[in-house]
Structure formats: C-alpha cells, structure tokens
C-alpha cells in the first residue's frame, strides 16, 4: 500500500501495464524526457526506454493516427493528448476513424487503445485549456469514456482501459491531480461501467463524476450536518459504459435525482441520465429531476469568474436545499 497523489497514480498505472504487456507503448508530446507537462509520467522513459516511451512532435492527428494503426496491427498503445481541448484538432481520428472502423468493417478490426488527456477546469487556464469533453465523446457511438476521481480508481480504471479491446478516452481531471489516496501494491484492475456509491443516504441520489465527486461529497456533509438532509452520492467512473442500474436503484430508493456535471449544460451527460430516469422510473419520483451544471458558456479564466462558473460546493448545497422542499 502506498499513498499517492492522482498525479503519481498516472505513472504507477502506466508502468503497471507496461511491465505486464510488452505490446503496450506510450507516446505523446513531452511525455518521455520531460515526464509530461503535468509531471504525470516521470520515470517511465528511464524504466522502459525510448522505444516504448516516445516524445512526439506537435502533431495530434499523427499521434492518434499512429496509435490507431498500431492498435489494428497488434499493439496496445497509449497516447497522451496534453489538454483535452486539443482533441478539437484531431477529432476526426476519434469520431470518424476509431469509433467507426470496427462497425464499418463488420468486426474485422480491433482497436485496443487508450487516449489519456488532462480534462476540465478549475486551474485558471482560460477557455482553451479547460474544456470538459466528456459530453462530446459520449455523443460518439464507439468510444468508451472513463473518468476517475481517486488515485486508486485512476490505476484500476486505467488498467481496465488498457486491457479493453475497444478505444477508450481516459479523462484525467487536472483539478484532481493533487488529490491523495491509498493505492494497493500489486496488480490493480477494475471493471469499466461500474459506478461506486461514495455515500449512502435516504433523501436523494446525487449522480456525478470526476472533479465534481469530492465537491458533491463535501456538499453532502454540509447538508447532513446543517440541514439534516441525507444524500446518496454516486461516482459514475465511466459514462460509456454507463451504470444505469446503479442510478435507477438509488433514484427509486430515494425518489429524487440531482446530477452534478462539470460539462456545459446543453447536451451534458446529465441530460441523458435524467431522460433515462424520467422514462424508466417516473412513477417512483417524488420531485423534478435537477441538473447542476456549468452554464452554456466557454470557461472564463479569472478565479472569481471560474469559481462561479463550474459547480462549487456552495452552488450544490444551495441548489439542493432550494429544490428539496
């Protein structure tokens, strides 16, 4: 057992998979010699050498094309796209190529690859380095979308993503890199598509993911202590596959649903979740379904503005209080 930050867990996860499988290679901009712009991949070059840990030019299309071609010919590659915003310059490779090829070829081509990326806001980087792309990716049939909120989940879900035979978008929330937690020694690998109940309560189900998980948990403690409201908090951990069964179970039990989403509101992942809930357990509901999201705007940079934009603990507390009556 070791206490690791989420940042340290990234290299721990990649190393675990590279030791296990010689077909795993890792490439991206500044990931090898420099250890990554977020210092998430330090030490990998030293352990695995320049044939397996590779610095690339600034060529996002070539990076994703390379891992796709490598995956279809027997490797299990991992690529880093430095900031998730940069997927906009190579999105064709994701949505037209990776996502469609197995289906179009009637199952002839397998693409066991992972695209890892720094996602989300909270660090005052401004609108072009703070995007939440989970809802972009979720809208594309054929891409799995994974987002851990703790160091141990990062390792276990990353391992599962590497071992998965389908393309996985692995979203590392930049705002969570400093979060610490215990990670067991030895092989850590979880299953994709399994949500975790982080807090059990009787009054409402709060469904969330990523950076919003610790905020929802903090809000739940405040609501319990100060207002006697007892919340269930579900960490989805992946959006595709989506653990609908877990969501429905706790919504039915509590009669209420709140989603807490970092992505901008329109067509955010919670829109899908609320539509499933409305359709499949309408008669078990005691109240309207409520989404707490970032508004329909690009993210502003200054701290005061960004903090009032992405759902905060205060906003979560305030909204739940208002809507629980």
């Amino acid at each position: 057992m070791a206490e690791l930050s989420l940042r340290e867990a990234v290299a721990r996860a990649i190393a675990q998979e590279m030791r296990r499988d010689p077909n795993v290679v890792f490439l991206g901009e500044d990931v090898a010699a420099a250890g990554g712009v977020f210092k998430t991949t330090t030490g990998l070059l030293e352990e695995f050498g320049p044939e397996r840990v590779i610095d690339t030019p600034i060529s996002e299309q070539a990076i994703l094309g390379t891992i796709m071609g490598a995956a279809m010919t027997g490797l299990r590659p991992i690529a880093e796209i430095m900031y998730s915003d940069f997927f906009a310059v190579c999105w064709d490779l994701v949505v037209n190529q990776m996502a469609k090829t197995r289906y179009m070829t009637n199952g002839q081509v397998s693409l066991p690859l992972v695209m890892k990326t720094g996602n989300g806001g909270g660090l005052r980087f401004g609108a072009q380095h703070s995007q939440s792309i989970e809802n972009w990716a979720m809208a594309v049939p054929g891409i799995k979308v994974v987002m851990p909120s703790t160091p141990v989940d990062l390792v276990g879900l990353f391992a599962a993503s590497v071992r998965d035979d389908d393309p996985v978008l692995f979203l590392e929330q930049k705002a969570l890199y400093t979060v610490k937690g215990d990670v067991p020694d030895g092989d850590v690998c979880f299953e994709l598509g399994k949500a975790v109940v982080r807090r059990m309560g009787a009054d409402a189900a709060v469904v969330t993911i990523g950076t919003m998980v610790p905020r929802a948990l903090e809000a739940a403690e405040i609501l319990a202590k100060e207002h006697g409201i007892d919340l269930t908090v579900i960490d989805l951990r992946s959006l595709i596959p989506l653990d609908t069964a877990c969501i429905l179970e706790h919504v039915v039990r509590t009669g209420r649903l709140f989603t807490v989403e970092e992505n901008p509101r329109v067509v955010g992942w919670g829109a899908e979740v609320t539509s499933i809930v409305a359709d499949e357990c309408f008669f078990d509901l005691d109240a309207p379904l409520v989404r707490i999201t970032t508004p329909y705007i690009p993210l502003p940079s200054a701290g005061e503005l960004e903090d009032k934009t992405i759902p905060s603990v205060e906003l979560i507390v305030e909204t739940i209080l208002k809507r629980m009556v």
Binding site: V25, G65, T66, G69, A71, G74, N96, R102, P241
Partner: protein, 341 residues
C-alpha cells in the same frame, strides 16, 4: 514530365521485369479495368446505390504494388479503393456484393464502396475522410518496426490529399522515426472537380514536398506498370531493411469522372484525349506483343478475367440483403453495441 522534372526524377524503367511478372501485371491491370467497368455499369443500372469512385486509367499503380508487395504487407487506401482491394487478392464477388449492399459483401453491407477492408488480405481499409488514413498507415509502420516484423505499410492517396494537414504530420512522423512505409500519391491532376495546379503552391504536389521531410524526390510514370513495379520493389525493399519511408508521386489520369456518373466536363477535351492515348493497358499490351508474347496468351487472360467478373456479378446479385440482425452488432469487441446496463 517537364525537362526539369526529368532531371531530378529517379530513373526507373531500366531492366524490364521477367515475363511471368509482366504477364501477371497485365492480368492484374485487366482485372481492375474489367471490374471497374462492370461497377460503372451496375451503378448505372441502379444495383449500386450511394457512390463509387473508380480507378479506370490508374490501374498500373495498384497492379505494380499488388505484384511487388509481400502477402503480410499492409495496404491503406482511400474511398477510391476498389482497385487496391482487388490487387491484394480479395475475390471479386464479395467486393461486388459489398457495393450492392448484400449479406455476402466483404463487410456484409456495413461499409460500402468507400470502406472496403479485408484484414486477412492485408487490405487494412479504405478511408473516406481525405488524409485521415495517412497517419493510420504510419501507425501500422510503427508497429512493424516495434515488432521487427519486416512488414511494410503502403499508403495510397490522391494529389488533392497533399494539401491536408494529416499528410504533413504523418510524413514528418515517418521520417523522424524512419518507419517502414511507402507513401504513394496517385496524381491524377484533379481533386474532385478542381485542377490540382489551381490550388497548390508547387507543380508536383507530393514530390516537391518530399525534401521538406528529408525524402528523395520521386516522380514516376503511373501509367507504366513496369515502372510502377520497379519503384514499388525499390521502395518496399528500402523500407524493409530499415531505410525508412519513401514518397512516390505517380503521374496518372482517371478516365471516368470523380465519382458516380460524373461526366468530368471540367476537364479540357485535348487533355482527356492526350491521356487516353497514354492508357496504361493497351500500351502495355503492345509492349508485351513487341517483346514477343503470343497474342493468344493475352487474349486468354482477357477472356478469363471477363468470365470471372461475370461469375462474380451473378454471385453478388444472388446474395441476399444484409439482414436486420446486423444493425446493432459489432460496435464493440464483444460483438454488441451495448452502452448501458
């Protein structure tokens, strides 16, 4: 080719290939010609919906590489990919059935004309987003080098494709890492309906950019099967022994329009006539006769090819529609398209 280009072009076409090879090249080109003409006919008959992009006139390129490639080498092609699929040895009938949207199609009707793929033949896909497959082909080359498998990745694309970013990103990648890949630009002078010269800063869209990636400037007569076979061997060998990538610009012309029933009216009549005179197949036929091949040998090849295309057409027509059971299959590796429990 201008004087200037001749001076800098790699000299090809010196020693002629062996007779058996030349007969094979002739057979391959004949297959592509007869097949593509049949595709055009059945498109006009309404048996093929959507779209097609034919390689009529460009057969020598696919034939030369098809002849030279090792069976475990990889082909990456564009939406103009029927010829490259046939030239890797994929039988006519499943290709034809795919174009017609039938169960017996290469991908059971899920891909269509623009996405022909047969992994078992090393035909790693036909891609319909201009330029996207160039980095993907580069990734296959990366994998060959990493696994030291001796395989070579061959990536075909058009002149117009040299103006998209993915082309430049991939060339740089391949050159930096000395990957075993051959990039083949089939310069047919047009990107869809626009002359390439009207939209490109250099005269030779591929060859004039080769130097930017430290690569040799290679221009070859893409209507000469012997020359294509020779340059294919040379560049494949170079890639196989660790000599890195090559970029070939093969000069050619499509006889038909860009796609479907496009009559190609945007092209001057004299230009079309001049290129029809350079038709790769009758010229090659004549070359073989001049070299002493008995005409009956060539006649027999043509007859055999015509018969097999006829048989394939009937087989494809007899194949049933795909069946709705396929719709929700094979999004994921477990065969399903399940995204929630």
């Amino acid at each position: 080719m201008t004087e200037d280009n001749t001076a800098t072009a790699t000299v090809v076409g010196e020693g002629a290939p062996q007779l058996t090879t030349r007969l094979s090249l002739f057979r391959r080109m004949t297959e592509l010609r007869v097949f593509e003409k049949r595709v055009y006919d059945i498109f006009l008959q309404g048996l093929v919906k959507g779209t097609t992009h034919l390689s009529l006139g460009q057969e020598a390129i696919a034939a030369g590489f098809g002849e030279a490639m090792r069976s475990d080498d990889w082909t990456f092609a564009t939406y103009r990919g029927h010829a490259h699929t046939v030239s890797r040895g994929v039988p006519f009938a499943p290709i034809m059935a795919e174009l017609m949207g039938r169960r017996g199609g290469l991908m059971a009707g899920k891909g269509g004309s623009m996405h022909l793929t047969s992994v078992e033949h090393g035909m790693m896909g036909s891609y319909a987003i201009v330029g996207a497959h160039i980095p993907i082909a580069t990734g296959a080359a990366f994998s060959a080098k990493y696994r030291k498998s001796g395989q070579v990745s061959v990536c075909f694309f058009g002149d117009g494709t040299t103006n998209i970013g993915a082309f430049h990103e991939a060339l740089n990648f391949a050159a930096v890492w000395k990957l075993p890949i051959v990039f083949v630009c089939e310069n047919n002078l047009y990107m869809e309906y626009t002359a390439i010269s009207a939209v490109t800063a250099v005269e030779h869209p591929a060859a004039d950019r080769a130097g930017a990636y430290g690569l040799e400037r290679i221009i070859v007569d893409g209507n000469d099967a012997d020359a294509m076979y020779e340059i294919a061997n040379k560049t494949l060998d170079r890639a196989r022994v660790g000599g890195g990538p090559s970029l070939i610009e093969a000069l050619t012309y499509r006889h038909a329009g860009h796609s479907r029933a496009d009559p190609g009216k945007y092209r001057p009549d004299e230009e079309v006539a001049a290129w029809i005179a350079k038709d790769p197949i009758p010229n090659y036929r004549k070359r073989l006769l001049d070299a002493g091949v008995d005409e009956s040998v060539l006649d027999r090849i043509e007859k055999e090819v015509a018969e097999s295309v006829d048989i394939a057409t009937e087989l494809a027509k007899a194949s049933p529609p795909p069946g709705e059971d396929l719709i929700l299959k094979d999004l994921w590796s477990d065969g399903s398209s399940t995204w929630r429990n």
